[in-house]
Symmetry: C2
Subunit: 228 residues, 2 copies
């Protein structure tokens, strides 16, 4: 039998979920923005039931914030949130690198990372920011994936989602296009040499730099002012 592509049968909940998640990560839905269920459901062309289920999921993922009978808003991002985000991100990636260096099939992993890095260098020379960001994400995803730890990957998804959101919200000043790529190269080399300390130092520096840069030009529009 000829194999045809399966017809699309994902539930409305899943489709709504994807739509909203993407919108939040894009920055299309901005932090603090209020989501009214009836409006949103009408706009998406679905009833409130699947929409609400999607909202509950985004709540756990930390992208939305709901207060009973008060409403749902896109979660605001304070400077502290960003610091925490990059701190946790560092923790996960350092852990991943340690695992990779200890792995038996390290060589194969390094090769995969190099392939990604090559792609990135190609994009870097062209200078397309969107593509660079995409490959950058692929690189960091790969680090985590190669641990083979499903639970870690699950946590990483939730974290990298927010990283992407933050990246989309900042003023995209693209000064150091190539710098990121070069960093990756050095990190791979340190891994290949099984130089744990150096690899950890480099990844910490790499992530720390990005976090600091992000914080430096963070304007307060997105801050979470509701503190008691």
């Amino acid at each position: 039998m000829k194999s045809l592509r399966q017809v699309e049968t994902t539930s409305l909940r899943e489709r709504v979920l994807d739509t909203l998640r993407k919108a939040i990560i894009n920055g299309e839905l901005k932090p603090g923005e209020i989501l009214v269920e009836t409006e949103l459901a009408a706009q998406l062309g679905v009833s409130r039931a699947p929409l609400r289920e999607a909202i509950r999921i985004l709540n756990v993922e930390g992208l939305l914030q709901t207060v009973a009978y008060h409403g749902t808003t896109v979660k605001k991002l304070s400077r502290k949130d960003i610091e925490e985000l990059y701190s946790v991100r560092g923790m996960i990636e350092v852990f991943a690198i340690r695992q990779i260096i200890a792995a038996e099939d390290m060589d194969a992993i390094v090769q995969d990372l190099r392939d990604i890095h090559d792609t990135m260098m190609a994009f870097a020379k062209q200078g397309s920011m969107a593509d660079i960001n995409w490959v950058d994400r692929k690189f960091h995803d790969a680090l985590v994936k190669h641990t083979g730890n499903g639970l870690l990957m699950h946590l990483w998804e939730s974290v990298s989602l927010r990283v992407e959101q933050v990246m989309a919200l900042r003023n995209q000043k693209q000064g150091d296009l190539l710098q990121i790529a070069f960093n990756h190269g050095n990190i791979i080399d340190a891994i290949a040499a099984k130089n744990t300390d150096e690899a950890v130092r480099l990844i910490r520096e790499h992530i720390g730099t990005m976090g600091d840069e992000l914080l430096s030009d963070w304007h307060d529009d997105f801050e979470d002012t509701q503190r008691e």
Copy 2:
């Protein structure tokens, strides 16, 4: 005005969520068990809407697994899942200890940990397993809380939930009641002495031991056999 306790007004969703979560963690709902929405809703005395929202949340938390039009089951736990769990747990706690040692108010934190430890020693002498487990959890919670990192705490909740579940499912052989408590004492001492390497070594050993012990008498009833 006299301050009275607020009347309970949590949503059905939240109450159902708590009920189910506790049942899963207790081991009352066993891995692999099938949850039928209509039955469960009737049993809990609510409609399917809030129940389904609770299920979606437990799905993201990794305690339930739902396949469209097929049903929801309590997530099974393979040996690999447990290994991953304890691996991630170690990552988080090592990170927390590093942060605590670097913290400015380290002394206050150490004092808090010592208080918890004292409580534990008291229980240990009486020999009540349930209480020991409770304080043990408090200790590890405290380690994470004292980082002051909200995102980390969020991830920790999801992880410690599963730890609790695994603990409840195993054959509760209570050989080394006091050993756990003594371990905590040593860890606190290493933190107080700002001896990072030693503290990290001890916590890794502590967690690793518990994980290994768990795996040693893990019977396959709870394994996830659905692999393709």
